[in-house]
Every structure is written in structure tokens, then in C-alpha cells.
Amino acid sequence: MSEPKTHEPAFDTITAEGSVDPKPVVLIAEFETADQLMSAAEKVRDEGFKRWDCHTPYPIHGLDGAMGIRPTILPWIVLGGGFTGFCGGLLMQGWMNGISYPFLISGKPFFSIPASIPVAFELTILLSAFGAFGGMLALNGLPRMFNPLFRSDRFRRATADRFFISIEARDRRFDADSNARFLRGIGANAIEVIEE
């Protein structure tokens, strides 16, 4: 990985405005098709990179495997939310109508399971959904308004019709030159390094 630089670097560099001592933070490689990305991703994974990612306009079936992403813990968060909602819903109704404010109306029991099911059910769903949405944001670190990737104009097509691999400078195997050559070799048609 430490070959001497003998030619012009195979990538463009984008530097942050007003940066005093620009250092590379992330490298992006563009691919034309999803298939190219898929096979490239497998190779990047096999190369031993850790802090890298693919960027695609739509979720690509099988890419998780190609990247070696492990299953998320999100279902457990959702299950926890649902459990809280159901028990909380029953306890809330039992306490409010059965203990705190028992109120006789048309001879119905203060608290009963059948009449409590609808509200407990809705709260189960509501809190599960909060778990699913909030959990998704938390696990993905969103919202993340600032991202060095947004400095690249080319990268704007990542949400439209192009496929990208990004490698962070924090990765142990990061080296702009050799990484760029490696990615070119596996089908990237453009490489950019973003510096800050």
C-alpha cells in the first residue's frame, strides 16, 4: 500500500473553503451500475476495510450481505416499545378509571379487560412505531445535517442514479492513492477525495 507516487493522482480533490491545513476525510468512488457496485463491495469487504459504506439511490437487495452488515437490533427496540405501550395502556386505564377516578356509568365495571383492549392496542402500536422511527434515527445517527460528502457535486447523483463507495480517512487501511487505484481496478469510473 505504500508504493511511491509516480504519476498524477487518479482522483480529484475537493477541499473545504478556508481550511488551513486540509487533510483527507473521506474518499468516494463512483460506479455506473448496481451490479458493478455489488461486486466492488464484496471486494472492498474482503480487502478488510471497516469504516466504509455504499451509497445508492435505492436499497439494493443483497448488498447487505456483500458488505457484511450484521442484522440490526431495531426489532428489539420496537418490541420494547410495544410491550411498554401495552402494559402502560392497561395500567393507565386500570389506574385512571379503576383507582384514581372510579365512576359508575351504565353499570359497567370500573375496569375490565375487553373494554381496555382498544386503547391498550393503540398504545402498543403507537409506542412500537415511535420505537421503529426513533430507533431508526438513533441507530443511523440522523439527523446529520453536515457531512463532508455534501462537498462533492458528483456525489449529488448518489440519490438519483449513481452508485458510490465511500471510505473514511479514519479507516486503518485508508490511503488515498492506493485506495483510489484499488477502486479503479474494481470498476470505479471516478474517484474523489474530500479534504477538510
Binding site: 437487495h61 443483497g62 375487553p114 373494554a115 383492549i117
Partner: protein, 447 residues
Amino acid sequence: MGHKQTIDLSTENRSLGGLSGQLIGFGAVLAVLGLIGTLLLGNLEGAFESHSEPHAAGGAAHSSDPTHSNGHSADHSGGDHGMAHGYVSTWSIWHPYLVSASWLLAICLGAIFFVLIHHVTMASWSTVVRRLAEAVSRNFVLMGLLFIPILMPGQMDKLYKWIHPDPGDSIIAVKEAYLNYDFFLIRMAIYFLIWIGLSFWYHKNSVQQDADGDLKRTTRMAHFSPLGLILFAMSITFAAYDILMSLDAHWFSTIFGVYLFGGSVLSFHAFLALIVIWLQANGRLTRAVSDEHMQDIGKMMFAFTVFWAYIAFSQYMLYWYANIPEETAWFLRRQENMLWGSWGWLLIIGRFLIPFLFIMSKHVKRSRPTLAVAAIWMLIMQWADMYYLVMPQINGGEEFPFTMVDITIPIGFLGLFLIGLALSLRGHSLIAEKDPRMPESLAFENA
């Protein structure tokens, strides 16, 4: 999608072959066991005495109990509550018989629904198992035969009070135009004609396609399926009213047909999972039906577990909340005493809660042993549900009329059912060989 290798069907063992003998043998053993058990235990418990003695009834477990002395049906139906009854309150052998018959009928109903709905939606994932469903649905013939004894003139009044209503029972009098013996027989004939017709026609077309590969058959089956579904919907609804709801001729519920439907589809998927697991354990269809398909069958089991609970809750909730006597009577018999009350909880927990939590996970659905456990459990629960619909009328729900024939009859019927299944599966492929959607089905993945 495109990354999965397509399975070559020609290397797959896809005929029942020697297994048919095994299945028939196993079925025969069960049938004989059931028959002997029923005769023996039934005799011990006095089940057949009712033939000679019109009022004799009740299980042995209770016959020694002085407070529930045998057979005073006249007392019970006329005297006890000072009101006319819409139901027969005396136990007869036909009660457990009907429980078991409706239990297996539900599986057949689910099977024909499966065939129809997958044609109407042009679904592909299910193509690999559709032949099995077609074979199961052919057991309607057996079910028709099993229902004949109940419908005999001298026997049916042991189940259905409306045949000989109490004098002055104005509620039954109102519905006499519908609830009368002749019309009932005609309706039963129509239901079974519809069911047998649909199942044979779909099975025939499907099997013939194995030979000629005619795509028009697929089109024709798809074209007929919406009409088939309408026939199915109407027949299952009124069959549910006739066979199960009219056991208490005073009681009524508009959702009752949907209730039977939910349980039917659920128990069919459970049965389907078991057939597949059994076939695969014997080296049939080992690769054609993949984990992905099992997961989908499991998903349907999960979905209909929830659906059943939804329908059951809707029915209970609306009657419980409004608290109108003629509607709650049916539920009161089922929850006013410990035994039937516990049975209700058994259904809530055993039929909904446990399966719901158990097969929620994808791993449980994809693993054969766990799915088999879930499927067997669900089939037992379907039986428990039918038991709950039929039995609590006896003695107005005061007692728990469990006898050993409750166990032996379903075993015997299951044996017959398996023999019927073996006969239907025999002689042709276990898979709809030339169905145009087979490649898609084989390559199916849960994405």
C-alpha cells in the same frame, strides 16, 4: 433477486411413491384405533345407550354424580329456566362427532380457499405447494361422507333443537322457513356440491397441466377463481350458520361465517406446513420448497392467528358491551362456570397469545421443527375452538361433558383424512410441474 440459482425440478423427488403406502397404513392404524377406542370407551361411558333409551345421555364421568343424573332432557329443556331452549342440552355421541367433523372440514375449507385466492391474485410464491392444497381440498368427499350420519332423520334432532322445538318456542317458529329438515339437507347438498366441484375441477386442471403444460388451463383457472371465491364465501358463511350456529337456534351473530373462515385458513396453513415437513423428512420436495416458502406459510399462520383473534374479539366485545340477554346467553353458558370459563381462557392464551408470540420470529418460521410444533399446536387449538362452539350447550354449560370419545373420534377421523390425502396425492406429481409460474416460485425469496 437474480442471485439465486434456479432449482432444477428434474433432480427433485416429487412423487409420493412408497410414502403413499406408509401414509395409508398410518391413517388406517389411526382410523382403527379411533374406531375401536370409540366403540370400547364409548360403550364404557354409555355413549351408545342413547339408541335404546331416548333420554339417556351424559358422560360416565358425570353419570355417577347424583346432582347430574342422566338424561332428563325434558327437565332441562323445559323446566330448568322456565324458558324454551334453542339448543339440545343432552349429550349425544354426535356432539363429539360434530366437533371432529367440523375440525377437519375447516382444514378442507382453508385448502380450497388457498387454491382460489392464489389463482385470483396470480401469486407465484405458493405455486410449489399448491398441489398439496389441491389434494387436501379433495377430502371434501370424505367430509361429505362423514356428515351423512349426522343428517340421518332419526339422529339429527340429537344435535339440533330446531327440528323438534319446544312447544311455544316462538323464536324458532319465526325461522322455520329456513331452519327445517328438508331445506337443511338441500343446503348441505349444495355446499358439498360447490366444495367438491371446486376442488375436483381445480385439482383436475392442475394435474392435467402436468401432462400437457397447457397455459390456457392457468388462465382458465384464474378466470374462474373470482366466481369460485364468491361461491366459497357464500357457502362457508351459510354452512357456518347451519352446522354450528344453529346448534343454538336462538342465537345469532353476523360475523359467525367469518369466524369459521378465520379458523379454517389458519388450520389449513398449519396442516400444509406439517405435510411439507413430513414430505421433506422423507426426501420429497427437499429443495423445491425452501425456507423461504416455509417462512411465508408461517407468516400466513401468524397473520390468521391475529385475524382469528380479531374476529373473535369483535364478536365477543360487541355482545359483551351491549349486554342484551338474547345475545349474551350464548357467551354466558361459556363463561359463567369455571370449566367453560377456563376453556375460554385456553382459547385466548392458547389459540392467540402463545402462537402469536411464538411464531413472530422469522427463525421460528424458517426452522422445520419449531414450525411443526407451532402447526400441531394450532391444529389442536382449532379442535379446541370447535369443541367450544359445540359442547357448552350441554346441560346449559353447567357441566363439562368431556369423555374419552372426544379423543378417540378425532383420532379416527384424522386417520381417514390421511388416507384420503394419500389417495389424492398418489399417482401424480406432488408439485404443479408445468405451472407457468413455477420458475418464479422456485426462485422466490423473502425480500
